[in-house]
Amino acid sequence: MEWIGLANYAVFMAIFICIYALLSLGLNIQWGFTGLFNAGIAGFFAVGAYTSAILTSPAVEGRIGGFDLPVPVGWIGAMLAAALIAWPIGKICLRFRSDYLAIATIGVAEIIRLVIKSEDWLTNSARGITDIPRPFGDLPYVYSQLAYLAIVAGVLLVAYLMVERQIAAPWGRMMRAIRDNEDAARAMGKDVPFRRLEAFIFGSALMGLGGALFAHFNRTITPEAIDPMIATFLVWIMLILGGSGNNRGAILGVAVVWIIWSMSEIVTDQLPHEYAVKAKYMRVFLIGLMLQLVLRFRPEGLLPEPQGTREEVSEKSK
């Protein structure tokens, strides 16, 4: 039955889209609304994945934990851990222009990768952490996939609504003011570094949550689970293409880019081995080129940021 396979694949894709959408929402808080350049998304993702894995997996000899705690505790722990890593970095770097944050986050992601790869007692290094519980994982395959999709979609919906609410609130207006004219915002008495720190921590916590959802979906997490550069970059292109500053755009961009990315993988996997390896890098090249084209021809993305209400009022008053 061909269509069952296709439906299974569609569910699998949808789960990944929801997980990436959390990362994209997190980045939207940081970049879209506040103008912070986080080039270490994969690092926060990994921190979340490993934290939740350690907290919820059954106890094992030779490394810390697992603590066998309920899954939601793991997810909250993942968010807290990612936020805790973001705090000192933001504290140091957010006084300066975002270039410094970009460099520092590249560094953080690199250090996190080193720790994960080499600390046996914490992450079981190359072998990774296995037996991560998955909610409704005992059901038959199809139902378990569907149940997990429902969970991640629910988490995404809650995150989306919360971010939307926060951005529509005075807090969101203040963040946009800081992004668009830092000096003016400072003159209005806004504590710019502190507000940026808030946005950086919120965004990173969402990325950590995305990582946790990924770990529970896979049931295992190893240092090789994701390619840090490609994952980080994919999230960037998703947000920029979808429309930074627009949460619906951020999610739309995820769907578009992830479908293109996975479909092209299916195509290149059909090639003979020696070409398949090269084709993988061609895909990376094309995704890089795609970013340049979007930046050049449609910098506002597919769904641009709504431009506030001032124009509408003036339209009506004419």
């Binding site: 350049f37 970095i89 270039d99 560094g107 960037w236 390896v277 090249f285 890089g288 340049q292 910098p299």
Partner: protein, 290 residues
């Protein structure tokens, strides 16, 4: 452990890798000061330079030292083309957008290297080179040449920036771009000149890294953090600061293996970067803070 062993196993390798970082950091500091953004594709440009030199070595059968100038010219051309294709039209937008574009360029350049040369590590020459011993200090020819070439290139750049008309124009644009423009400095030419110099230095850093270690597609990217740490440690916009910073970061990385597991060598550069941003963001030689 005797003083000689510390020199041989930690100080000499530290100075060698530090010289390589210095070559890259000078380029980073020039882009940071003149064009005013962090160029994240810098490391991968160095990778490209190293592999272009490998191409010259395998195709032309020349020694890597002959391939070095070839690679420098080709990488400079590549840097100018990248600027024209991907950065030039972003000049009026906030600078951070160019930083993002440079992250994309980093990925693209690396992908090109991986497609053309594959993913296995390569070397310029085969076989083990035995170090010469001078008064108990063991140093290989290629290590000596790396250090001397770095000093030579930086001195040449220094003289160019201080003495020549175009060097002065570059410094003027670094100090105040609007004033430079009003005084008749052709910004476009200065930008192009900057990329020529930066591309050449990048290639030199990449070739010497490949010569002393090995050529890998990720070699430049892993060098990015130490190079930025060096540029910020020395003070953004200060060429001599970048050299000083590069040497300090290189030596600190090697020395760190005395106290830390070797895996965490790369963390040293990051620690230096954060420490400098915390205590003295202008760097040792009082550079700019963007």
């Amino acid at each position: 452990m005797g003083a000689l062993e510390i020199i041989n196993f930690y100080l000499v390798p530290g100075i060698v890798i530090g010289s390589i970082y210095a070559l890259g950091a000078v380029g980073i500091t020039l882009v940071f000061a003149i064009l005013r953004y962090a160029h994240l594709a810098h490391g991968d440009l160095a990778t490209l330079g190293a592999f272009l030199a490998l191409g010259a070595v395998t195709l032309g059968g020349v020694s890597p030292y002959v391939a070095l100038p070839v690679a420098m010219v080709l990488t400079a051309a590549a840097a100018v083309m990248i600027d024209k294709a991907f950065y030039a039209y972003l000049r009026e937008r906030p600078k951070i957008v160019t930083v993002m574009a440079s992250l994309g360029v980093a990925l693209m350049v690396r992908a090109v290297v991986q497609v053309v040369w594959g993913v296995d590590s390569e070397t310029y020459t085969r076989g083990i080179v035995r170090p010469d011993v001078w008064f108990g200090i063991r140093i290989r020819d290629r290590e000596l040449i790396t250090i001397l070439a770095m000093i030579g290139l930086v001195l040449a750049l220094h003289v160019f920036l201080q003495q020549s008309k175009w060097g002065k124009a570059m410094r003027a644009m670094s100090d105040n771009p609007d004033l430079a423009l009003l005084s008749g400095v052709d910004n476009k030419k200065v930008v192009m000149l900057t990329w020529i110099i930066v591309g050449g230095l990048c290639a030199a850093a990449g070739v010497f890294l490949g010569l002393n270690y090995e050529l890998k597609a990720m070699m430049g990217w892993t060098m990015l953090l130490p190079m930025f740490a060096a540029a910020i440690l020395g003070g953004v916009g200060r060429v001599e600061g970048a050299v000083l910073g590069g040497l300090i970061v290189g030596i600190a990385e090697e020395m760190s293996t005395l106290f830390l597991p070797t895996e965490y060598k790369a963390a040293t550069a990051f620690a230096i970067l954060l420490l400098m941003l915390l205590v003295r963001p202008t760097g040792l030689l009082k550079g700019k803070v963007l």
